[in-house]
């Protein structure tokens, strides 16, 4: 099972570009996730890999087989790509039993009936539904249908498995279990898998690597830990988990760190920076609510921490922890804490390793910004 190589893939619909020159490689046996909000181009990308749509330009190949290429106008139709795909709606053929649903791809491949029986049984057994082989799809629950769809996509041993938000129609509890189960099944089979989801938790829990997409661009391709801990851009930081953002200007930059004057207060802080910044750059400082501490006096702050003066606006108990809305200038900063006793004027402690520095970006939607602004 070879690598899937996608080069400069671009797609336009009626003049609007929904996918901008995307390039990435999916390694053999990898669980690769396309993650992003709706309309970011992730499903388009999957459809292009499956061959359900033709790209405007670019190339997709698996091993030495070119699926589609703008150089020689080659296009392999979906039926000749030998992929397995699970759709969001499962797309089980309603007029066929489970056995017939699974037999269809085998019949097309002219596999003798005698060989089909064990294949169908094995595939359904893998998803734990062999006993329902004679049922029709509508007689199954949503979770069962989803597993049948998976069995149907696997029964003919395709080269690559494509999953288009397969868990999004399940209810929350079931989804969490299905996530673990699916990840294990994929690891057992070792099949190269492309997974599309808008659910970041799902992506973080299951993937070997995640590609974060937004507005038809691929922002970062990295393993889950890196995506969360070291988001490449402010947009990734905003989309994966939660982040607080403060705008500022660089007043002094040396190799590994930068001195930033915050716009809200004029306060000056030191932030370690991975990118290169120079004096005068407009920047955004990002830090996650769970990486920061709140204390009434700030006395216990570790050395090198940034300490900001804030006012506690609201305290909410959200189960297992407290969440604070803190007023800092005209902005609201969210902080998580295990205690809910801090009130009034307080000190926000941002440990040295918590903040990340990005070029200034509008990562907060206008609606959210309005809600977050402190009105007097």
């Amino acid at each position: 099972m070879p690598d899937v190589v996608v080069t400069n893939l671009r797609k336009e619909f009626a003049g609007t570009t929904v996918l901008h020159e995307v390039t990435f490689t999916i390694k053999d046996g990898e669980f690769f996730t396309l993650l992003g909000p709706s309309g970011c181009g992730k499903s388009t990308t999957l459809g292009l890999i499956a061959g359900l749509d033709k790209p405007t330009s670019g190339e997709i190949s698996v091993g030495d087989v070119v699926f589609v290429s703008d150089r020689n106008g080659k296009f392999v139709p979906p039926e000749s790509r030998n992929l397995g795909m699970v759709f969001q709606s499962y797309a089980l053929w309603p007029h066929m039993t489970l056995a017939q649903n699974l037999a269809m791809p085998l019949n097309i491949r002219k596999i003798p009936k005698a060989e089909q029986q064990p294949l169908i049984y094995d595939a359904l057994d893998k998803v734990g539904l062999a006993h329902l082989i004679k049922r029709y799809p509508h007689q199954l629950s949503g979770g069962q249908q989803q597993r049948v769809a998976l069995a149907r996509a696997l029964v003919y041993s395709p080269k690559v498995l494509l999953l288009d938000e397969p868990l999004s129609n399940l209810d929350a509890k079931l989804r969490e279990q299905a996530r673990v189960w699916l990840k294990r099944l994929q690891a057992e089979l070792g099949i190269t898998t492309v997974y599309v989801t808008h659910d970041q938790e799902e992506a973080l829990a299951m993937s070997d690597r995640i590609a974060v997409m937004s507005n038809g661009h691929m922002l970062q391709v990295a393993p889950p830990y890196e995506i969360y801990e070291e988001p490449a851009t402010a947009e990734v930081a905003a989309f994966i988990g939660r982040s607080n953002f403060l705008d500022g200007d660089v007043i002094n930059a040396t190799g590994g760190s930068a001195t930033v004057r915050l716009q809200e207060s004029g306060e000056v802080i030191n932030v370690s920076a991975s990118g290169t910044f120079s004096t005068g750059d407009a920047v955004t400082v990002a830090f996650r609510p769970e990486k920061i501490h709140l204390s009434q006096t700030g006395a216990t702050a570790p050395a090198g921490s940034i300490i900001l003066d804030v006012d506690v606006l609201t305290t909410s108990y959200v189960g297992s922890r407290y969440e604070y809305d803190l007023k800092y200038g005209d902005r609201i900063i969210i902080a998580e804490s295990s205690t809910g006793t801090v009130s009034g004027a307080a000190k926000l402690v941002i440990p040295a390793e918590a903040p990340r520095l990005y070029p200034r970006a509008d990562v907060v939607s206008a609606d959210a910004a309005e809600l977050m602004a402190v009105t007097h």
Binding site: P77, S80, R81, L83, S89, P94, R109, D125
Partner: protein, 591 residues
């Protein structure tokens, strides 16, 4: 997931060796895959069918002699003569007046009725809703017969009114009389559009009006009626263009008193004269065709815009029922008058006429009861043959047209074929072609075929099947298309990814899933084709009369009793067929 424990453990940490199966291959025919052949085949068949009547008509209109004669030259003379010698100007004026009156009357009947039936608490709403479907069973030709039987100069009710009042306050054989009857016939079409729009409108809009203190009449005036504008405008256009091309009622009412409209002009010039002037016929047809095509194009545009109007669909909401108070009894009376006097009395009169020797209030009809009218029909083989012909044409035609429409829908909606939009336009194009012009155009097309091969079709039932089928094609397409849209696109995508090419996906997936829609289309087109007759006026021969053309023939002979009998038979046949088909479809659904 309860079955987690049933999944197999990894086998000793090693990836299991998976079997490799060959990628399915599909043979190419002359370098193109087989699905492309289906795409091109569909578009070619449709284009030939649609263009066959149009091109010869346009061509004939600019030739100085009949197409089958050699040595013609191009000329504009036909158009000049059309307006000078043939007095086409008066005809056009009549047509426009007739169509305008019909449109206004039909809207006046349909729109209030739709509002009252769908949105208010009048009693018997369900029954009225069902009653508005009567034109499905009764053609406008039969309605015309019925109206003449009851309200014509010597009609049953006219005679009675004249006896009481001393004079008759109406004249059916006038443009006004035509318009009233045509409006009664077309009002249900406008009603269907408006009531659908009312049903799908968002009830929360009215809820919002109510919360700010608006009463039921205020809601009707300020919310419901303004929202109806798109469907009303659309049905105006639809009724207008349908009444431009209609033949039945102008033929029955206008012929005796010499009032001519588009369709009767074609009828007289093409059929009644001994030596038809093909140039004038062609020029008139071309003008009518251009007008109807323009109207249908505007309709299509409006319908698209109207859809944009209702694009905000969220939760399904039950339409709010408004209380009209005492006014509801006025509404009920109004609808009852329409249904009873418009449709019920004329049809019952026609049935009564078919069982009597003389049908007049001057003599108790029960004293002249007879079955002779039916015997006349069953005694003459030509008449029996026309019933058989109608049934043959409708059954073969319905299946053929529904098959073609299914393929056209699937190619237009579910393929990546470059010209799929064009397929939809072609399938709906016959909407813009009056039945008579389809008849004339195909007649010319057959005479145009090389080696005189058209002779083998001309005058046969096949010619009539083609003509009627073309007329019914848009209905079939229109009834299958929504069903196809409801089948999730992911079902065929799944099939494609699993290894089936487009054709196999169509045959194994879509065809099966579309079977109920196909059945419904067969029923619909069967009924449409059983009622149809106008293309057969030019395409038929003495041996290939259908019920409609036989009725006309008997009418001209003055044999009104047998006309009534045939009409009763046609309505009965339709009802029996729809009943049986409905039962069969229902049985299938239960299984």
């Amino acid at each position: 997931m309860s079955t987690l424990s049933q999944t197999k453990p990894p086998q000793s940490g090693q990836k299991p060796a998976l079997p490799e199966y060959p990628v399915p291959r599909y043979r190419k025919i002359l370098g193109a895959d087989r699905s492309s052949w289906v795409f091109w085949g569909t578009i070619i068949v449709l284009a030939v069918l649609v263009l066959a009547p149009v091109v010869p008509t346009l061509y004939q209109s600019i030739r100085d002699r009949p197409l089958y004669e050699v040595g013609g030259i191009f000329t504009a003379d036909n158009y000049v003569r059309l307006f000078t010698e043939a007095d086409f100007g008066t005809v056009a004026l009549n047509t426009v007046i007739f169509a305008l009156m019909t449109t206004v009357l039909a809207i006046i009947i349909a729109v209030p009725m739709a509002i009252v039936v769908v949105r208010t608490n009048i009693p018997g709403r369900r029954i009225f809703g069902i009653a508005m479907q009567w034109p499905f069973f009764i053609s406008s030709l039969i309605l015309g017969f019925g109206w003449i039987t009851m309200y014509g100069p010597a009609g049953f009710i006219s005679v009675e009114v004249r006896r009481t009042l001393g004079f008759l306050p109406w004249d059916l054989y006038s443009l006004g009389g035509m318009a009233v009857t045509e409006a009664v016939a077309l009002a249900p079409i406008a009603y269907v559009f408006c009531s659908n729009a009312l049903r799908s409108s968002d009830a929360s809009l009215e809820g919002a009006a109510q919360t700010v203190g608006a009463g039921p009449f205020r809601i009707l005036r300020s919310v419901v009626i303004p929202m109806l504008r798109p469907p009303v405008v659309y049905s105006c256009l639809l009724v207008f263009s349908l009444s431009l091309e209609t033949l039945s009622i102008p033929l029955l009412y206008g012929q005796p008193v010499g009032i001519s409209v588009f369709a009767t002009f074609l009828y007289n010039n093409g059929l009644q004269s001994i030596d038809p002037d093909y140039g004038i016929l062609g020029a008139a047809s071309a003008i009518i065709l251009v007008v109807t095509i323009a109207l249908v194009a505007v309709q299509a545009k409006l319908l698209k815009d109207a859809k944009r109007f209702v694009s905000v669909r969220g939760k399904a909401t039950r339409p709010r029922i408004l209380d009209l108070g005492w006014l509801r009894w006025v509404s009920v009376a109004f609808i009852t008058i329409y249904v009873v006097f418009g449709a019920l009395i004329p049809i019952l009169g026609l049935v009564a006429r078919s069982f009597t020797k003389v049908f007049t209030p001057l003599q108790n009809p029960l004293l002249s009861l007879t079955t002779n009218n039916y015997l006349t029909i069953f005694q003459y083989p030509v008449y029996v043959q026309s019933i058989k012909n109608s049934l043959i044409v409708a059954s073969i035609g319905a299946i053929a047209v529904s098959l073609l429409a299914t393929v056209a829908v699937v190619v237009a909606r579910r393929s990546t074929f470059r010209y799929r939009k064009l397929i939809e336009y072609l399938a709906l194009a016959p909407n813009a072609m009056p039945g008579l012009i389809i008849g004339i155009g195909l007649f010319w097309a057959f005479s145009f075929l090389p080696f005189g091969s058209g002779q083998f079709i001309q005058g046969t039932l096949w010619a009539i099947i083609i003509g009627f089928g073309l007329r019914a094609l848009p209905s079939a397409y229109g009834s299958i298309s929504p069903a196809a849209m409801q089948i999730g696109e992911e079902l065929d995508q799944a099939s494609r990814v699993a290894g089936a090419d487009w054709l196999r996906t169509f045959l194994r997936m879509l065809a099966k899933l579309l079977t109920p829609a196909f059945g419904a289309a067969v029923i619909l087109t069967f009924v449409v084709m059983l009622k149809e007759y106008s293309p057969a006026i030019f395409l038929g021969s003495a041996d290939t009369n259908v019920i409609g053309t036989t009725m006309l023939e008997l009418w001209v002979q003055g044999n009104t009793g047998s006309v009534a009998a045939l009409a009763t038979l046609q309505i009965t046949l339709t009802a029996i067929f729809v009943g049986i088909a409905g039962l069969l479809m229902k049985g299938k659904k239960d299984a």
